[in-house]
């Protein structure tokens, strides 16, 4: 009796997990199907003509500006991540281990900047960029993305470096190492999972952005999330290309997240436990 009751609950739990898995996979599988469907059969169920598939959408995508936009995305998101890490990780370290009475203000500011609605300051940013000639440049977008990601980088390197024992740092400093050497050789390796996770999250934030790119790019630096909208034209919505472009936009980040998965869990664990 008891064992049966247990099994029932166990099976209900499994069914729930399967249900969630289906919910998670459905849009992905659907996007893959759409990307192989010819326009003429888009609107009939896949099971009524499962073999009517085409490679045409690949050609459409290759001939469009989309690959170029993917390159722009890669350069800007990658560049911004590198810059934000260079600037943000030492700052996180300084906040974690330095002495300051303004730490609370600093943490509040970081969160606030992360949370500020872009719609308000994108116009001032546009006007600023106009005056210093950064509209439609890689550097302009990299700078914007760096600021978008910097609060997260500082915040999470702060939390992961706070866990590095003070004794370790003091020992190194007493041995005559400079502060930067200590940071570079002692603290950074000790906080590696957190740093890796931070870099991945920063890259994802920049890679996902739609709004900034919409406003401060023109033809030369348009990023992939904006370029995808070009498949919505008057008289037709090219669902096949849209689905394929969505997949192309996601694919580069999938291996990253699967590889960095465990680091993220570790570092978030740090953030949650404090």
């Amino acid at each position: 009796m008891r064992k049966n009751g247990f099994d029932l609950k166990q099976n209900a739990g499994r069914a729930m997990m399967l249900g969630f898995a289906i919910f998670t996979l459905l849009p992905i599988v659907w996007a893959i199907i759409l990307s192989f469907r010819p326009a003429s059969h888009l609107f009939e169920p896949i099971w009524s003509s499962p073999t009517v598939l085409t490679w045409d959408n690949f050609g459409t995508l290759a001939r469009s500006d989309f690959p170029f936009a993917l390159l722009n995305s890669l350069v800007t998101a990658g560049g911004a991540t590198i810059l934000a890490m260079l600037i943000g990780v030492p700052a996180g370290f300084a906040l974690a281990k330095g002495r300051s009475h303004r730490k609370f203000i600093a943490s509040w500011m970081l969160l606030l900047l992360r949370m500020a609605p872009p719609v308000g300051f994108v116009i001032p940013l546009f006007l600023l960029y106009l005056n210093i000639g950064l509209i439609d440049t890689w550097f302009g977008l990299i700078a914007a993305y760096m600021v978008l990601t910097l609060p997260l980088v500082v915040w999470s390197s702060w939390t992961s470096m706070a866990q590095v024992p003070n004794e370790l740092i003091e020992a190194s400093l007493l041995d005559g190492a400079t502060l930067f050497q200590t940071f570079w050789k002692i603290v950074l390796p000790a906080a590696r999972p957190g740093v890796v996770a931070t870099a991945v999250l920063a890259f994802l934030i920049a890679w996902n952005d739609f709004f900034f790119a919409l406003i401060i790019t023109r033809s030369d630096t348009v990023t992939a999330p904006v370029a995808i909208m070009n498949f919505v034209s008057y008289a037709t919505v090219d669902w096949g290309s849209i689905a394929l472009a969505s997949i192309a936009l996601t694919l580069p980040t999938v291996p990253v997240i699967i590889f960095a998965n465990k680091y993220i869990v570790q570092s978030l664990g740090g953030a949650v436990k404090g």
Binding site: F20, P27, S107, V119, L179, L268, G274
Partner: protein
Amino acid sequence: MGVQTLFQRGYNRMLLPAVVAVGVFAILPLVGMIGLAFTDFHLIKGWRGEWGLHNFMRMTQDRRFLASINVMLFLSVFGVLFQVTMGTLVAVGLEKIVPKWRFMRGIFVVPFVVPAVAVALIWLSLFTPTLSPINAFFDIFGITVPAFLTSEYGAIFAIVIADTWASFPFVMLLILAALQGISSDLEEAASIDGATKMQVFWRITLPLLKPALLMVALFRFIETLKHFPLIFIMTNGGPGRTTQATNYYAYIQTFQSSKVSYGAAIAVFLFAIAAVISFYVARANARITDA
């Protein structure tokens, strides 16, 4: 201690680049936004020289703005509720129900990396009755799936569902991390004492997860206040105006009605909400860190 003071200048030097970068590229535009909110910049007519509180006065009488707050709260409250529930269930399920299905973890994490624009486009296709395989599937049994995007609450829930899909993995990852931090001794002790699995979950695990749950809920709440691509692509704010959340309304005022200053005033309002919530997050975090 003494060493730390000695090295304080070094710390300050490491902090400086971040302060400068934030100052130029974030604070400057923010100051600009607040400045705009007190003036009357119009995309077409330019400046007309009026300045003061008029944009904020206008907000108190603007029915659309007030309605947009409702929409925003609806989207945020239900979005966070769904995401946190599902994310927690999946995380707990992965640890306790199907610990051997390791591949599942990889599946659940994928939506996390799908860019918002792609999320919106794929879900738009799933919610378009003539295109959607879901509708076609239920048609086989003679069941007509209602058209989500054409009814007031349907459209809001369509956005909530798409957002839940995209964001539950974030919650899941955070809760997984928190679960690993909970020592299994407590749970084992409880089950030896005769508690059922359910009781262990409700009485032991969940209370221990509370700080993590609160943190992730607040984080997600703020993010949902900034919804843009999902509304822009899936509903255009429709049907009628029923999915014009405040952030989207600020966008419409700025770009479609050309009233940059009014849009900026609405953004300042959102900024104030974010300031209050982030204050509490920062305080909660400071408590956890100090403890």
